[in-house]
């Protein structure tokens, strides 16, 4: 006979975004993310090298185009390092949100047959991309030092930018993943939107090169101030900060409001959809 403590009757919550114990949610999150990360490179000859090689290859092409063809590179201090840094940061966002769209459907077996906090699925996608980001940042800093950028104390502020970027990525992942099961257009829409965001963010160019009127529009994009801050704090202390680019603190409230709005929408939407995801698949 088993000598177990007799558990008490408890209301079962039904499926939800969170809930059902933190320990289990964290273990699941870690397990799914690690297996997915391993699986991506399983069976490939170069394995984890691809994680680093992909942004480096993109970097090589873009660097050639923007220093040899367009000559933009020569006007910006430390352009190659800046370009690589920006590519690594935006790739993290694109990769995570892109994989998140179909994530709930891809994990159909789990969602339809077991109970667990549904939020684990989009979070695990972001975590997988975060492993890639970690590897890539190591390479970035090798380049940063190799190109003679002097280490400054503001490097220590980089985690703030990263946290803000990760939170935004999670929020967008929650939105696109929760919409996809019922609205299959989301996959195509997000592919296009993601490309638009890539060019509308100061990745290939610094924000001050964008003409005035267009610049205000570009600055609505909450990723723009994040990239600019990363640039100022890590690569070029002389670069204008978001405040100087916008002109006033008031104008900076707008991307901030959009940022908060996206996060609020994500929480509301995912909470609303989570209980019915298993039925919508």
């Amino acid at each position: 006979m088993s000598a177990r403590a007799e558990p008490e009757l408890r209301d079962i919550p039904g499926p939800s975004a969170l809930g059902g114990g933190w320990r289990r949610a964290l273990e699941l999150l870690y397990l799914i993310a690690v297996t997915e990360f391993r699986r991506t490179y399983f069976g490939t000859v170069f394995g984890y090298l691809w994680s680093v090689a992909r942004p480096l290859l993109l970097f090589g092409v873009l660097l050639a185009v923007f220093t040899q063809v367009f000559r933009l590179g020569s006007e910006v201090p430390q352009y190659p390092v800046l370009l690589l840094f920006n590519i690594v940061l935006i790739s993290f966002f694109q990769e995570a949100t892109g994989a998140a769209v179909t994530s709930l459907v891809a994990q159909e077996g789990m969602v339809r047959k077991t109970q667990f906090p549904r939020l684990v699925i989009p979070l695990s996608v972001v975590l997988t991309s975060l492993f890639n980001l970690g590897l890539n940042l190591v390479v970035v800093f090798v380049f940063v030092l190799a190109f003679g950028v002097t280490p400054v104390w503001t490097w220590l502020l980089l985690p703030l930018v990263l946290v803000a970027l990760i939170v935004l990525t999670i929020a967008v992942s929650m939105i696109v993943s929760s919409l996809f099961p019922r609205f299959r257009d989301m996959a195509i829409i997000w592919t296009v939107a993601s490309t638009v965001l890539f060019y509308a963010s100061p990745v290939l160019y610094p924000i001050e090169k964008v003409p005035g009127g267009l610049r205000d529009l570009f600055l609505l994009n909450p990723i723009a101030p994040l990239l600019e801050l990363a640039r100022k704090w890590v690569i070029d202390p002389g670069a204008p900060g978001p405040l100087e680019v916008v002109g006033s603190a008031w104008a900076l409230l707008l991307p901030l409001a959009i940022y908060v709005g996206i996060c609020a929408l994500a929480v509301w939407l995912f909470n609303r959809e989570a209980p019915r995801i298993a039925e919508a698949l």
């Binding site: 006979m1 088993s2 177990r4 007799e6 558990p7 008490e8 009757l9 408890r10 209301d11 079962i12 919550p13 039904g14 499926p15 059902g20 320990r23 289990r24 273990e27 699941l28 397990l31 799914i32 297996t35 699986r39 994990q107 077996g109 789990m110 969602v111 339809r112 047959k113 077991t114 109970q115 667990f116 609205f183 299959r184 257009d185 209980p275 019915r276 298993a278 039925e279």
Partner: protein
């Protein structure tokens, strides 16, 4: 009480014309999203007690699987209250939360954690899982390369090894070979013995009668009956007959009332001990006692033996040319020649009443299962004695 369900309702909105994309929306701008409301469960209430083996039976689409998913917290009920005590391990739609892109090992750990184990516990139980499922050699194979039978075995093994307080099991016996079905039964008996709570959804009345302490019949989302497994089985058969074979249906007014009851039904070996396994060729000793719950006029007993595929292998009919008053018992015992090939068999008995020779069915009873041990041949349902020998014949050349 480990499960308490009170007044649960669940509806699904089924789109009549599904609009999944903008293109369809543009193509049919005036089509509104029309939904049909399907009420899968209506005011369902029942309790399951600690250590109970609880059966849920019902026809396809009766709502039993939706109910199980609500108990497993996969669906959320629209109304009502569900309370559960302890850790729950679900086995639903013949599986657990598999990702076919992952290996058996990865899926094993992942699903162990999903069922409430820690990662360490899940890893530690992996060997036992693979041994039970007999898949040790395929541990690093991706599940997409598994056969459906292998996948069911792995899923069931993971669910069993998670050793939850409550197991919710949907139709595991419907698939797999005889040996695996027997293994499942062994697990059920073991879990029943050590006092785990099991909720089993099934079509197999023999399992219900053999294992369940209580059973519930559900039809069109409503609870029809909760109580003795024998009575539940009878009501379940009643539902099926009234639908499928109206002409053979139970007589008017009699519907699902209990007419006969199985006192006991089993096979015996030569010494008279009850057995569930026979060796191929060994004689079958049948021992069935049926009690009449009301007066039966010249009852007929039609025995049917079906194999695991549901095929009727043989049947025989016995008639009692007298009136059996209520409360009286009828014994049907004797020897049966055994030409069955190895495999799993079910024995049904149809009780008919033939006052005017029409042979109206009083009641169908699933009596029991048995297994003929041995290696089944590739083809054939019976083994027939033959005297055929190959001999080389000299051919005279002209």
């Amino acid at each position: 009480m480990v499960i308490e369900v009170q007044g649960v309702d669940k509806s699904f909105r089924i789109p009549e014309h599904r609009i999944d994309s903008i293109k369809e929306r543009v193509a049919h701008p005036l089509t509104s999203m029309e939904y049909r409301e399907h009420r899968a469960l209506r005011n369902v209430s029942f309790d399951v007690r600690r250590g109970e083996f609880f059966g849920i039976v019902g026809r396809n689409g009766s709502g039993k699987s939706s109910l199980l998913k609500i108990l497993a917290s996969i669906y959320r009920q629209d109304a009502g209250r569900v309370r559960v005590a302890g850790r729950v391990a679900p086995f639903i739609e013949l599986g657990v939360g598999f990702n076919v892109e992952l290996t058996a090992r990865e899926n094993g750990v992942l699903n162990g954690v999903l069922m409430g184990l820690t990662r360490r516990e899940a890893l530690a139980s992996l060997d036992a899982v693979l041994e039970f499922a007999e898949l040790e050699d395929f541990v690093d194979l991706k599940l997409k390369n598994y056969s459906s039978g292998m996948m069911v075995r792995l899923a069931f093994a993971i669910m069993v090894q998670a050793d939850a307080d409550i197991m919710l099991i949907d139709e595991v016996l419907a698939v797999g070979d005889a040996a695996f079905a027997q293994k499942c039964m062994d697990v059920f008996y073991e879990k029943r013995r050590i006092g785990r709570t099991i909720v089993l959804v099934t079509h197999d009345m023999a399992t219900v009668q053999a294992l369940c302490h209580r059973a519930m019949v559900i039809d069109e989302g409503q609870v029809q009956y909760v109580g003795r497994p024998e009575d539940a089985a009878i009501r379940y058969y009643g539902l099926n007959f009234s639908d499928v074979e109206p002409e053979h249906a139970v007589g008017a007014g009699a519907s699902v009332d209990v007419q006969v009851r199985v006192e006991h039904a089993r096979l015996r070996d030569e010494t008279g001990e009850p057995v569930e396994h026979l060796t191929a060729g060994a004689q079958i000793e049948l021992d069935v006692v049926i009690e009449a719950a009301r007066d039966l006029e010249a009852p007929q007993f039609l025995f049917q033996v079906r194999n695991a595929d549901g095929l009727g292998v043989f049947e025989f009919d016995r008639r009692l040319d007298e009136r059996v008053p209520a409360g009286q018992r009828v014994r049907l015992a004797g020897r049966i020649e055994n030409r069955l090939v190895p495999g799993r068999y079910a024995v049904d008995c149809w009780v008919r009443q033939a006052p005017d020779g029409t042979g109206e069915v009083v009641q169908g009873l699933r009596l029991f299962h048995f297994v003929v041990d041995g290696v089944a041949p590739k083809n054939g349902v019976v083994s027939i004695w033959t005297d055929v020998e190959p001999v080389v014949e000299a051919v005279r050349v002209p």
